[in-house]
């Protein structure tokens, strides 16, 4: 027998109850967990950026450009886990060339291209254009060349031209919010529309995905904001951090309520799948769902943010000093990332751990090496940070740069 198939023989030994013979091979592994996690961060970071632009939340202005660059860095990586997962990556382009218009998955190419080209790149370009011209004027060598090239030759700095930039940026953000909803709602729909799978088939899944995306995006930007202030030796802008933490708490409450609604709804309806799903939650998914997703990743950060952040009272329920607040925010944001990653895991892997015969449970054997392995996924999760670093070097997003101060 092919030695590569040996892991499946081991799975065969661990099946509980009856599963269809073709279900022994788990179809979507860790890479497909990474994909919705990454797109969720894109959508969440963008929605945070739009808070400042569209809803005029002044406090979070320092994170505006950082959010856009983060969204871009993660969006560039988003299709890679899917590509790596395909049986024939060389044929991936057929999704663009000959899409089956009845297929939700076929829309991926169009939504992705729309979001990357029309929304993110354009918004970043309009926002940076003036700075690019000014930076290029005071630089030499490669940086000057790159910044000049990025202006695409549009070097008009007249007031009329700049006000066009602002107007265009605002319009794109307006288009961008529903687009970000579409980007991640679509990912939820991929799962939510599979009627064969009772764990996935729910109209709430796209909405739960969306709010968990907002949660993960805000938490990531909060982490990056605190981390970058530390690295750059700047004092943390606490007004901004407090505001981010408050929004994080609001989003977390909505997200948790939706997840509970989904859970209670399933429990109350108690369809034919309820027995096997309950078995799965209390055995195979207990650690990742009950412990990591709900307790560690949601309830704990929600309580700590509730006590410390000034979300409901101007000084927070505990009136904690700034240093403690920063520590709590940082820990809560890390826990939330763990929780949201577990959420993706529980949806993707959980949906394949029970048989569609509703008579048995299987296991997922994660490999370490190989394309579907742990290290590949870890690499794909680190890659966006590398891209973000390069972007930040090329397009400094810091509001305290002289160029920004000069703008007023």
């Amino acid at each position: 027998m092919d030695p590569q198939l040996q892991p499946l023989m081991d799975v065969l030994q661990q099946v509980k109850g009856y599963i269809y013979p073709n279900e022994i091979e788990l179809q979507w592994g860790l890479l497909v967990v990474v994909y919705p996690y990454v797109t969720g961060l894109v959508a969440g970071a963008f929605i945070l950026a739009s808070l400042e632009r569209v809803f005029n939340v002044r406090e979070v202005q320092p994170t505006y450009r950082l959010s856009l660059l983060t969204a871009l860095a993660f969006l560039i990586v988003a299709p890679l886990p899917l590509l790596a997962h395909l049986g024939h990556p060389g044929r991936a382009f057929e999704i663009f060339l000959t899409p089956n218009l009845n297929s939700a998955m076929a829309m991926f190419g169009f939504i992705y291209a729309w979001y990357l080209m029309v929304v993110l790149l354009l918004e970043i370009w309009f926002d940076y254009r003036k700075d690019l011209i000014q930076w290029a004027a005071g630089e030499t060598g490669l940086r000057r060349f790159l910044h000049r090239a990025l202006t695409l030759g549009a070097t008009d700095l007249s007031e009329r031209s700049l006000s066009f930039d602002r107007g265009a940026g605002k319009l794109i953000t307006l288009i961008g919010i529903p687009s970000a909803f579409l980007l991640h709602g679509y990912v939820g729909f991929i799962f939510g529309s599979v009627k064969a799978n009772p764990w996935w088939s729910s109209v709430l899944i796209p909405i739960v995905f969306l709010f968990s995306a907002i949660v993960s995006g805000i938490a990531l930007i909060l982490l990056l904001f605190l981390f970058s202030s530390l690295v750059r030796g700047k004092d943390v802008d606490m007004a901004c951090a407090d505001k981010l933490a408050s929004f994080l708490l609001y989003a977390l409450i909505v997200d948790f309520s939706l997840e509970m609604l989904d859970f209670i709804h399933r429990l109350y309806e108690a369809e034919e799948s309820i027995k096997i799903l309950s078995q799965m939650i209390s055995s195979r998914l207990f650690l990742s769902l009950v412990v990591l997703q709900v307790l560690v990743g949601t309830v704990l950060p929600m309580l700590s943010l509730f006590l410390v952040s000034p979300a409901f009272r101007s000084r927070g329920l505990l009136a904690a000093p700034a240093e403690l607040r920063r520590l709590v925010y940082f820990s809560a944001a890390v826990l939330i990332q763990i929780g949201i990653f577990s959420t993706r895991w529980n949806v993707v892997i959980g949906g394949q751990l029970f048989s569609k015969s509703l008579r048995g449970l299987t296991v997922y054997k994660m490999e370490l090496l190989g394309i579907e392995g742990f290290f590949m996924s870890a690499l794909l999760l680190l890659l966006p940070f590398l891209i973000l670093y390069l972007l930040v070097v090329l397009l400094p997003p810091w509001p305290d740069r002289e160029a920004r101060v000069a703008d007023g």
Partner: protein, 264 residues
């Protein structure tokens, strides 16, 4: 032909008669053959090939009488041999499930290696009833797998069979997720989706699927769904018919007779 109209027939000797009348049938024959040169050429060309297969003239489906299945596994074995299905116990285009309904209310289902080598004996106490159920792709008329395929590599033929284009499938596995019956798998060598084709390569030669061919009890009945008389229409007239997971509205074209409510 003036001689034919000659009044003195008696003056015509045998030699004259033969000489003068012979051209008549020959000319007639030549005229008749000249009238259909195309048809003649085609007939000559087709002599070496079977008649052309027209998908639009067929509408295939399968009937399965679970009360006839003895769980011998010949169908699953024949399928693997006929279609080069990998021999490992997790790739099947068709398989057999055994249901053991016990007096304690539990139902134990098994399908060791798809039932290819039969089933181990059951403990005979505490059993209400046992039965076998052959499973395969249901060739749905409303197939979720075809709906979700992002590139259209899986499609329904005119004769009602759902197929996968191996040259086109990108191996995303969405169709495998969308199938409610666990009928699909990813071929470990070609890395494309695979499933039962009703042995389409046999159908176009006028043969029945391999599993139907080898079934010793005729538990599988294959044929035309819309024909006025076919083994399948007879089977469907004489039995009460059910399909698997009807609530999912996939409209399966594999029809079960004597199906137990325990079967999913």
């Amino acid at each position: 032909m003036e001689s034919a109209g000659e009044p003195e027939a008696g003056g015509l000797d045998r030699r004259d008669f033969l000489r003068k009348s012979l051209p008549v049938p020959l000319t007639l024959l030549a005229l008749l053959r000249a009238g259909e040169p195309e048809a003649e050429k085609k007939a000559e060309g087709d002599a070496s090939k079977p008649p052309a297969y027209k998908a639009s003239e067929h509408n295939y489906a399968m009937g399965i009488d679970t009360s006839r299945c003895i769980g011998c596994g010949r169908c699953a074995e024949a399928c693997k041999a006929e279609n080069d299905v990998p021999r490992e116990p997790f790739y099947f285009r068709t398989w057999i499930e055994r249901y053991v309904v016990q007096t304690n209310g539990e139902t134990v289902v098994s399908s060791p290696n798809g039932g290819i080598a039969g089933f181990p004996p059951v403990n005979e106490t505490g059993i209400v009833r046992t039965f076998f159920v052959p499973k395969l792709c249901n060739q749905c008329a409303n197939p979720p797998c075809v709906q979700v395929c992002p590139v259209g590599a899986t499609f329904t033929t005119q004769d009602g069979v759902v197929l996968v284009d191996q040259e086109y499938c990108i191996g995303c596995r969405y169709c495998i997720q969308a199938c409610p019956y666990g009928a699909r798998f990813l071929h470990p060598v070609t890395h494309t989706a695979e499933k039962c084709t009703f042995c389409y390569h046999r159908l176009i030669k006028g043969l029945v699927p391999a599993c139907v061919e080898v079934c010793p009890t005729q538990a599988r009945i294959f044929g035309e769904l819309k024909a006025r008389s076919s083994p399948l229409t007879r089977f469907m007239r004489l039995h009460e018919i059910q399909v698997l997971k009807p609530h999912l509205n996939t409209e399966p074209r594999v029809y079960y007779a004597n199906l137990d409510g325990e079967v999913r």
